[in-house]
């Protein structure tokens, strides 16, 4: 069995094999980190949607991405409710205002989200728990990860938002995504006190919930049929595709982290190849012996491939552990929502297998040099 032979060869030289595993560990870790960054930006853009409960999103056809959402008349939501599959259609208001301490100081830009606290829009325990607080007049909840520029976010602090005195009713933990440096959450009535100039019938996002068993794609078509052409309707998968496409193609970040990913892939192959080629060079006498006792080239190739996959498999586990630790570190340092999904894990595993196979094939060249007559 080539696999057994490969395992014995690796175990025979524990020190060298450990060194090789270390190299491949780093190569896999590099791919984990770069892939993490690549998906973290669109994930950041989706963070707030991911914590909202809805089946369909209706918005203006000027909608670009969450932070440039455009506005539409509230009457459109009433029209949406007439569709048979729709059980509820709730408005979400978004606005940017200046935040200043009641005693003066810096005027910092804050994003404000206005909702009906009773509509169950946010599936965030911190927010659900403080729904009653949102109903108090002139009160907001603030996101705990708002930047330090906003000062201490303790409850009962009085701040000026959009020229209106507001009380911080409490803090919730969700994350600001890419909506701004900080987020305040308010009831509809409080929202429009902070934006007195804004016509009260303008909505940014309409969150539509469907009756149990309704098909989202068909309900979306029904909505498109009754809403005017200045509106658009997204199912959740369509919204994800739209936001991810925005972040990866309309901003520089997709290209930057994409190229980082490509470089990490090439570097990974280089490291694996160096390691394997070194390994083979050192084991040339063993390979020559195997040849001399009658094993075919294919058999030797199978051993090299097995060695490559064995080392990679052994290196993968600690690389995964280290990647999780580094993700946690970056999450706390940068507020990027760096998490490891099953799809990402699968992608790294796949990339790693391709790297292992590519470098094994590259190093088969050194194997051909194994000449029994020369070794002895």
């Amino acid at each position: 069995m080539p696999l057994q032979v490969a395992w014995r060869m690796l175990v025979d030289q524990k020190g060298r094999s450990a060194l090789a595993t270390g190299g491949i560990f780093i190569a896999i870790l590099l791919v984990f980190i770069e892939l993490g960054f690549f998906v973290a930006v669109p994930q950041g853009g989706m963070l707030i949607y991911d914590h909202m409960s809805f089946d369909l999103l209706v918005c203006s056809n000027r909608y670009l991405f969450q932070a440039q959402s455009g506005q539409f008349p509230r009457a459109r939501l009433a029209a949406a409710r007439t569709v048979a599959e729709v059980s509820a259609a709730s408005p979400v208001y978004l606005g940017g205002a200046k935040w200043q301490d009641a005693n003066g100081g810096l005027k910092v830009d804050i994003s404000v989200i206005g909702i009906d606290p009773q509509a169950g829009i946010f599936a965030v325990p911190d927010i659900e728990r403080q729904n009653a607080v949102l109903d108090r007049p002139d009160t907001v909840l603030v996101d705990g990860s708002s930047r330090s520029l906003f000062g201490p976010l303790q409850a009962e602090r009085i701040v000026d938002i959009g020229g209106h005195r507001m009380t911080i009713g409490g803090v919730y933990e969700l994350g600001t995504g890419f909506l701004g440096l900080g987020i305040a959450l308010a009831s509809e009535a409080n929202f429009f006190r902070m934006f007195p100039e804004r016509p009260p019938d303008t909505v940014n996002l309409g969150l539509v919930s469907l009756k149990p068993g309704a098909d989202p794609a068909r309900a979306a078509d029904a909505l498109r049929a009754i809403l005017p052409a200045d509106m658009q309707v997204f199912t959740r998968p369509e919204l994800v595709a739209h936001e991810v496409a925005y972040w990866t193609t309309r901003t520089a970040t997709g290209l930057i982290f994409g190229s980082g990913l490509v470089v990490s892939f090439v570097v990974g192959i280089m490291v694996l190849y160096q390691t394997l080629a070194t390994q083979i060079t050192r084991q040339l006498p063993q390979f020559a012996t195997l040849k001399a006792i009658g094993h075919t080239n294919r058999y030797l190739d199978a051993i090299v491939l097995s060695e490559s996959f064995l080392i990679t498999a052994v290196a993968f586990v600690p690389a995964l552990g280290a990647a999780l630790a580094i993700y946690a570190l970056i999450r706390s340092e940068t507020l990027l929502p760096l998490t490891l999904s099953a799809a990402q894990l699968g992608a790294v595993l796949l990339i790693t297998l391709v790297m292992a196979a590519a470098s094994a094939f590259l190093s088969l060249g050194s194997l051909r040099r194994a000449d029994p007559a020369e070794v002895f």
Binding site: L19, I33, Q68, G104, A252, G260, Q274, I326, L335
Partner: protein, 380 residues
């Protein structure tokens, strides 16, 4: 020929392999370092192009790109200060100018600046050249390096801003940053007309920045103090370098780019160290008999260690040079596509070469123990 160089050149195939291995690690570091610098430079590009010795700005403002205007009267008070040659207003908006792509229907928020066409507030060559044409009402000049989907590349034609028709009468090269995809500039009069919900004339509109030029031969910091003293306490007066530092501090505080790309650079360093350790270790193992022979002939350990370190430094150089050249191409291509200012500088070159040398020497020090342990008696 010194021993180290001869060792390096002895096996051409191995030299290519090791240079490629080290080179890719170098490329990884250079690309990460370049991105870090590029992100930072992009966010400072607009501030660096401001034309003024001193800039008046609201005291409550926390960053350059944040609307926090002050009354225009302040500029009149500043103009009366001894030593001041001229004071001109710079209006700005980041969240209220919606630019329609001339070739399509979609509109996008853009960064907007407005000034007196006789006193363009920017040093950008395109702005100074085309400013006179902005006297025409509803004419704008645009950033030709803005993101492509805005359709600003040509610098001609007409489109709509906030639903009102405007003529594009020229362009400049600035580039997007992480807040705005593109920039338009216009006269104060056009700005007042285009600003949504505005009923004030340009003369009454609060200004974002006051651009102060001082008379030749005047002392900058004493004029700065005098202007500050002549103005109310809700504004402050910064020199240009102070304004750039103000913006840099803000970006460094909120941006995630620093930690991300430094981590990438460090990973490149560790990868490079591993690759060069592999290379040096294998090389030393192969040539152990030769080293033992040298020892047997009476050469000191220190001589052998020096030879190994010199060889490591040479392989660093052999990997670095092609990677540096490849990086120029990578910067150019990614810079053109991402519109990020990626430039090779002396600083980047020295920093990355220092890191490369460091990783090769460090791994040589780790690997050289093998040579020190080489026992002539054991080999033969």
């Amino acid at each position: 020929m010194p021993l180290a160089l001869r060792n390096l050149l002895a096996n051409k195939g191995r030299l290519v392999r090791s240079s490629a291995g080290i080179g890719f690690a170098v490329l990884l570091m250079l690309v990460q370092l370049g991105f870090e610098r590029g992100f930072f430079d992009a966010s400072l590009a607009t501030v660096r192009q401001l034309d003024g010795d001193l800039v008046i700005i609201s005291k409550s403002n926390y960053r350059f790109a944040s609307a926090d205007p002050f009354p225009r009267d302040y500029l009149r008070a500043a103009a009366k200060v001894a030593g001041v040659a001229s004071v001109s207003p710079l209006y700005a908006a980041w969240q209220s100018f919606s630019w329609k792509d001339p070739a399509g229907d979609q509109s996008y928020l853009v960064q907007a600046f407005a000034f007196d066409p006789a006193h363009p507030a920017f040093l950008l060559p395109g702005v100074t050249a085309d400013a006179a044409r902005l006297k025409e009402e509803d004419s704008v000049i645009v950033d030709r390096r803005a993101r492509r989907f805005l359709g600003m590349v040509s610098g001609t034609g007409e489109t709509e801003i906030n639903g009102r028709k405007v003529h594009i009468v020229g362009g400049f090269a600035l580039g997007p940053d992480f807040m705005s995809d593109g920039t338009v500039m216009m006269s104060e009069r056009s700005f007042a007309a285009l600003l949504p919900g505005n009923r004030l004339s340009a003369a009454d509109l609060p200004v974002e920045f006051g651009m102060v030029k001082i008379r030749p031969g005047e002392d900058l910091s004493s004029v700065q103090q005098a202007v500050g003293a002549a103005l109310p306490h809700d504004v402050r007066v910064l020199t240009r370098p102070q304004l750039i530092a103000f913006e840099r501090d803000f970006q460094a505080d909120v941006s995630s780019a620093g930690p991300i790309f430094w981590m990438g650079t460090m990973v490149g360093f560790v990868v490079g160290m591993l690759i060069s350790y592999q290379i040096i270790y294998t090389d030393l193992s192969d040539q152990l008999p030769q080293y033992a022979t040298l020892k047997g002939m009476g050469y000191e350990n220190s001589y052998l260690v020096r030879a190994v370190l010199a060889q490591a430094a040479l392989s660093a150089l052999a990997g670095y040079a092609p990677a540096w050249l490849a990086c120029l191409v990578v910067y150019r291509v990614i810079g053109a596509v991402s519109l990020l200012p990626l430039h090779m500088t002396w600083e980047l070159t020295l920093l990355s070469f220092g890191l490369t040398l460091g990783m090769c020497l460090l791994s040589a020090v780790l690997a050289v123990r093998r040579v020190i342990a080489a026992d002539p008696a054991e080999i033969f």
